[in-house]
Symmetry: C2
Subunit: 119 residues, 2 copies
DNA sequence: GGTCGTTATATCTTTACGGATACAACGGCC
DNA sequence: GGCCGTTGTATCCGTAAAGATATAACGACC
């Protein structure tokens, strides 16, 4: 492929993988990272800040995930100690583990195909 | 995974794969289809029309591909019989074949992972 | 030389997405 | 009850991508 697609250029293989429903995207690499940040920091706003993402965007993503899941992936609380917070549920933890494994296999696939491209 | 990510919903696995350079995207599934349409119809405008895409967008994509390739994938001619047209070069044909094969292996990967998700 | 359909290009508009901002509601805690 | 930080929600704004439109250049063919 390299010889066909021009020796003077270096092409990178890249890709995305995600789970979706009829209502749209459910879980991808971005949402996965958001879940991990929420799990680590205990709040949507802190997770958003850590990712350089607006709170609105983070909240929209969490809302989308919870709306599409029969069991919410993130449990939120308004008010209370420290004003509230967010927790990744058991279902959310399981989703993290499962998708990370899937993502790892995908990276492996891309690495393999990258080698194939470079002959 | 199904049991973790809610039995009542059916999740589809989906993804994208593409080649890129420092100048941006080079070849993906959309550009591949465009190349095939150009090869089949002999013009950018007809290909765009067949894909429900504006001519400008199609031309931009062709321009981007040619700019990133040392050897153009599409050769165009303005004026002449039937006003001109576009032809997919040998390099373009090779790119089509190579990327279609890659895409097929990617589909196979996703099908495999889909089975894994559904236990 | 006129016709024709296409490439090539510029410009303006439309649309979609996310960011920015503002603010009400909430509920432990002092 | 007041404070505080977060969730939840609405509204406005900026920007980037694509569509719509217009037009010039081109070259075979009659």
């Amino acid at each position: 492929m390299k010889s066909l697609l021009l020796p003077t250029r270096s092409y990178r293989l890249n890709g995305r993988l995600w789970l979706e429903t009829d209502d749209g995207r459910f879980l991808g690499i971005g949402r996965l990272e958001l879940l991990e940040q929420i799990a680590a920091l205990g709040s949507i706003s802190k997770a958003a800040q850590a990712m350089g993402m607006s709170y609105k965007r983070a909240w929209d993503l969490v809302s989308s995930m919870n709306a599409q899941a029969a069991t919410p992936l993130v449990s939120t609380q308004t008010g209370g100690t420290k004003g509230g917070g967010a927790v990744v549920t058991e279902a959310g933890q399981a989703a993290i583990v499962a998708f990370k494994a899937l993502q790892a296999r995908f990276q492996e696939f891309m690495a393999l195909e990258t080698n194939r491209i470079h002959e």
